[in-house]
Symmetry: C2
Subunit: 178 residues, 2 copies
């Protein structure tokens, strides 16, 4: 059985959209996700606001409230019938997020066994055939085939096969259903 590693933030969890929602609320702004095209979040946030936004990521509550990426639950569940699926999240930058991320996965993806969840810093440690990830650093480090999941910041990257959404993931990995 082939193994697929799946990143969490911006692949299973709509982290940046939730962050923008909070930012727009807290500063009465109207930044839309399209304005992040080819950029990182902190490129479009006013300098004076950055410490406040940075603090979002230090809070356990933040991770608990992120929305599920559209279509991810159904497709992950279907992938699990044909592939050995692991969730592979880089959580080491925010140690306080471990428990919140774990609980989030248990709540929204209860069909993924806890033993199939990995928190790591460097994805070169992941032994899998594929890694679906939005982060170019992770995809480059990964020893198997990296599949890039489209996010605002990675639009210009061309080195990896690309999926724009969970329908694309389904088509790529479960082609008979595509």
């Amino acid at each position: 059985m082939q193994r697929i590693g799946i990143d969490m933030d911006e692949v299973m969890a709509d982290t940046i959209q939730y962050c923008l929602d909070l930012y727009n609320r807290d500063f009465r702004m109207q930044v839309a996700i399209d304005q992040l095209y080819g950029k990182n979040l902190f490129d479009v946030i006013e300098t004076a606001h950055r410490p406040h936004v940075h603090n979002y990521f230090q809070s356990e509550e933040f991770f608990a409230n992120i929305h599920v990426m559209e279509g991810s639950q159904e497709t992950v569940r279907d992938l699990m019938t044909t592939y050995d699926v692991f969730v592979v999240s880089a959580a080491m930058d925010v140690p306080r997020s471990f428990s919140a991320k774990f609980e989030w996965l248990r709540q929204h993806f209860p069909f993924i066994p806890p033993g199939r969840i990995v928190f790591c810093g460097d994805k070169s440690i992941i032994a899998a055939d594929y890694l679906i990830d939005d982060n170019i650093r992770n995809l480059t480090a990964f020893p198997g085939e990296g599949i890039i999941f489209t996010a605002h910041h990675n639009m210009h990257e061309t080195r990896f096969r690309r999926v724009d959404n969970w329908d694309d993931v389904r088509r790529m990995f479960l082609s008979s259903a595509g």
Copy 2:
């Protein structure tokens, strides 16, 4: 550079000794580590005491107070000059232990970068040349060469090269210093 994964509990951290210390204190017992030879902890603890001892592992404080395994700090630091070292801990059984384990590592092994720490359930996901671990299930799942670190419960296992302590690890991996 070859990569070594190192398990945390009973390899870097003297988990069972600390657990026995608490047990002996709480129930005025005098169970010695030798009595666990070839057995698991719960085999030697009186049935009525098991729920109490089980609860030790549910507490963040428990993980914060475990002693460092003798010689581990010096040898891990020296291994890092020649090998790519990752800490690989199975923390998924006790989700509340993530932060405590992470903080423990930062305190006692500050020279290990956070990006070199992995929390997982199933060590078949670990891409490394060696895994030093006391747990037979982990060693069997691991795709590289498993090195068994002697613990009371694994005395009868013969399928892996064995190290009894951190001096043995040093001799095996840093032979010029042996």
